[in-house]
């Protein structure tokens, strides 16, 4: 097997006239956690379905775990672990029955591979007799991950595994992924959460079926081209429109209760922004320079792409 667990070149996919994927090229190293970050409809699910042999690309090719996703789909399906975005276990079967079923169809021995799922399965084991449909969101996802792992896959494909899951469970879920990575399992994961992006070894920002950038989170944030200020006031919406009036500020985006404002380096200081806003009648409670996060980079790249 090559150094890459996954490699794609020129992958394109159309649904009728809509282009879902536009000439994707990327590679994922073995044992890497590779994240796909992008809004809904960016093409993440389509890409994952192509990689898991569920869909055929219109052009380009892809290899996963050393197998061509079209020609060698049978061999590939034996070594893939896949968790679709939608909860896809049998709701009318119990936790135990679900696990036994998935072990059965992969001809895997639960005892033999239990060490892989032990950390998460132990948490849901008290509910082993409960129907999967009656589990909480977090437990459902842990069970789904257990079922996807029970045959010790070489490559694990997770499509938004933590959407709709509480913060604590998300954290536990990611701890688990990091442990799995140590077992040598290559993981690709789609997520809309930026805080999860920084836990990946590398991320690809994807929008409208195109990859905007692929790199480690630190490199991506390190190459953010602007100086960034975090501003806060009582009226966030008003604050954004005020900030946009300043000729040197080219972006003002809402981040929860803060607004991130970008300027060219060396043009403005925090004090100048505060003064500008006070003159316009907006009282700020905080103006401070910050380092860019993944989301800032993503918004910036999206904006450039759209222009």
């Amino acid at each position: 097997m090559s150094e890459y667990a996954i490699s794609c070149s020129g992958l394109s996919k159309f649904y009728g006239k809509t282009q879902a994927l536009d000439n994707l090229n990327f590679s994922v190293k073995q044992g890497e956690i590779f994240g796909f970050i992008g809004p809904d409809g960016a093409g993440k699910t389509t890409l994952f379905r192509i990689l898991t042999t569920l869909l055929l690309a219109d052009s380009g090719n892809a290899r996963v775990a050393g197998f061509d996703v079209v020609k060698d789909y049978k061999s590939l399906r034996k070594v893939l672990g896949y968790m679709p975005g939608k909860f896809s276990l049998y709701q009318d079967l119990t936790v135990e029955e679900n696990l036994a079923f998935f072990a059965g169809i992969f001809k895997a021995d639960i005892k033999e591979n239990y060490y892989l799922i032990k950390d998460i399965y132990d948490q849901i084991a008290p509910f082993a007799g409960r129907r999967a449909g009656k589990l909480s969101g977090g437990m459902k996802q842990k069970l789904a991950l257990s079922c996807a792992l029970i045959h010790k896959p070489v490559v694990l494909v997770l499509d938004e595994p933590t959407t709709g899951v509480d913060a604590v469970s998300r954290r536990e879920f990611w701890d688990m992924l990091i442990r799995l990575k140590k077992e040598g399992i290559t993981i690709i994961v789609a997520t809309p959460y930026m805080d999860e992006a920084i836990l990946c070894d590398r991320v690809a920002l994807i929008q409208h079926g195109k990859i905007l950038v692929t790199d480690t989170p630190s490199v991506i944030t390190g190459t953010y081209p602007w100086k960034l200020f975090r501003v806060r006031s009582d009226n966030t919406l008003n604050l954004i429109s005020q900030l946009k009036k300043h000729p040197e500020i080219h972006s003002a985006d809402m981040f929860g209760e803060y607004v991130h404002a970008g300027t060219e380096h060396g043009k403005l200081s925090a004090e100048e922004i505060r003064a500008f806003l006070e003159e316009a009648g907006t009282v700020t409670t905080e103006v401070s320079e910050i380092a860019a996060g993944i989301e800032d980079c993503f918004i910036d790249l999206m904006r450039k792409e759209n222009e």
Partner: protein, 364 residues
């Protein structure tokens, strides 16, 4: 594979609706058809036009009205009154005797008896005429035996169902319909459900082959449908006294064949439908209605327009009904319906092949 079958059983046993369809419906259907929806004839008003009024015509009338099927309606004196009495709905059938009936008989002539039925309800009319015909034929027979006179009326016998009991005719039809419904509809829905809930996506990304998935889906239903068939048979035998004149083993074997056929049809339907709704509609309209209407269950195939007769030849139930009627009522063996059996086997193979071929190894 074993796991798959266990899983399917769990799905079925945990779903109340499935259980009701599987086990409640056959019971209700058999009882309904057996007791309520029969087209048996009982206490129907029949009038007589009898210009001869001699001992022969009186004897025939007595036989008719003693049968328990007919009640004496109003007395009519001429042909012209018949239509009016039909219009008023007083009669379902009128028996018109020739004049000088007994004399003609003695002279060796053949006097006529007309049976005029109100055919606005064709099925009943048909039955009434058949009943009356049977009774008159019976009288004729006794007449010719005692007098050695000429046999005047062609012999009509109600073969296989001498008492003309509706339930005898219905049971083979019900078994067919229920097996079709349970087998085809339940499997098609259960596969479509996997697609709808997204679990099919996970099954596809596994080493399971299409044949495995299909076989795993089918096996529980083979067993359950078979139990179903047996319970319908037991019910119809002990509650309605429907005979099994032929070999029981053969009957069960043919039922098994039909179950597998219906299941493969169900799978074929599921390969072309993406959700439970579509699967259900397809099973209902593509299977149930033709099964009921075109199989000869309710309307005899011989009475259909030629186009529909052709169409009915591709309906699996048509052949199966023939087979089980032969076994249950006529008591004949495989020699009499090996052709029908072969047709069913061929159909099964076609559907299984088509399903395995059509079964998508990817998402659309």
């Amino acid at each position: 594979m074993k796991r798959f079958v266990i899983k399917e059983f769990l799905h079925i046993f945990r779903d109340v609706r499935s259980m009701v369809i599987l086990f409640g419906m056959p019971l209700v259907q058999v009882l309904l058809f057996g007791y309520a929806i029969t087209n048996e004839v009982k206490d129907v008003h029949v009038s007589v036009v009898d210009p001869s009024h001699d001992q022969v015509t009186t004897a025939i009338q007595q036989k008719l009205f003693a049968s328990g099927y007919f009640l004496q309606g109003e007395v009519l004196y001429s042909q012209s009154e018949i239509e009016e009495s039909f219009r008023k709905g007083r009669n379902k059938m009128v028996v018109v005797f020739d004049d000088n009936f007994a004399q003609k008989l003695e002279r060796g002539e053949i006097p006529s008896i007309q049976l005029i039925a109100d055919a606005s309800d064709p099925n009943t009319a048909n039955l009434l005429v058949n009943y009356a015909n049977g009774i008159i034929a019976g009288y004729n027979q006794s007449l010719s035996v005692s007098t050695n006179g000429p046999v005047i009326v062609p012999e009509i016998r109600m073969m296989y169902n001498p008492a003309l009991k509706g339930v005898f005719m219905f049971v083979p039809g019900i078994i067919t319909i229920l097996l079709m419904l349970v087998s085809a509809m339940m499997t098609s829905i259960s596969i479509a459900r996997e697609k709808e809930l997204g679990t099919m996506e996970v099954l596809l990304v596994s080493p399971l082959k299409p044949l495995h998935i299909i076989a795993g889906k089918v096996m529980p239903y083979v067993l359950l449908s078979f139990i179903n068939a047996i319970s319908i048979l037991i019910l119809s035998h002990y509650v309605f006294g429907v005979p099994v004149n032929g070999s029981l083993a053969l009957l069960l074997a043919e039922s098994m064949l039909f179950i597998v056929l219906a299941l493969s049809l169900g799978i074929f339907i599921s390969t072309v439908s993406n959700n439970q709704q579509t699967a259900m509609m397809l099973s209902m309209f593509a299977l149930m209605l033709p099964t009921i209407l075109l199989s000869g269950f309710i309307f005899p195939v011989e009475n259909m327009p030629v186009v529909l007769q052709w169409l009915s030849t591709i309906m699996p139930p048509r052949w199966f009904i023939l087979i089980i009627k032969s076994i249950m009522l006529k008591g004949t063996g495989l020699a009499y319906f090996w052709k029908e059996t072969l047709i069913l086997i061929a159909m099964t193979l076609v559907f299984i092949l088509a399903s395995v071929k059509k079964f998508k190894i990817r998402l659309s």
